[in-house]
Subunit: 124 residues, 2 copies
């Protein structure tokens, strides 16, 4: 039986200034939406608070409008959520992942069947 997770597909979108969206940024956005906190989202990803904020700052300046908004006046430790654009671009990224897996399934399978050590294989 085929394991759907043999190979992990990682999609990255680069602008001229570097990465604008990728697996880590998308996961961080999803966790901010879930937890309502940049700090909590970062912790769930074993990411330092500074690193999480740095990624949010990058996301907020890469596009025409911020993707994450924080409670005004606060230190930022509580109260963060996705803006409408943030929700829209996170959804677009997830859809891009899905259509790649669907439209590219024959090519992904070609790689999976050629892997020397099938990922996920456990000894004994």
């Amino acid at each position: 039986m085929e394991d759907q997770c043999k190979l992990r597909l990682r999609l990255r979108l680069n602008g001229t200034q570097g990465i604008v969206m990728g697996p880590g940024r998308a996961d961080l956005l999803a966790l901010i939406a879930e937890t309502g906190s940049i700090a909590a989202a970062g912790r769930r990803m074993d990411m330092s608070y500074k690193r999480a904020w740095s990624l949010v700052d990058s996301l907020n300046t890469s596009f025409t409008a911020p993707l994450v908004e924080t409670a005004k006046g606060g230190a930022g430790h509580g109260g963060a959520r996705l803006t409408a654009l943030g929700e829209e671009l996170l959804a677009a990224y997830r859809e891009l992942e899905t259509v790649t897996r669907t439209a590219g399934s024959v090519f992904l399978t070609r790689f999976e069947t050629s892997l020397a050590v099938p990922p996920g294989a456990k000894p004994g």
Copy 2:
């Protein structure tokens, strides 16, 4: 007029041991096919000879068979080419890129139209 290159899509395939195919490895394979030499291919990518060989070694051990074969008995500086599997997986990777751009065009466009600084924009 839309510039097709506003945003660069980067596809990576990860196994449990790490990356097995991505933009750099695919370009290296294509250049080995073109130049017939690992050293020449590496130079074209501004990559050290050691780095190029390290990537080839990784490619050759990640799959059920090598993707690159070198002239036997040589120091490896001359005479390298893709195996049948190498050609096949390089083609599969390029197809995967193409179907992602095609099937995902609406989502890629959503990102491109939201970029703060359109990549490729030139001053003046």
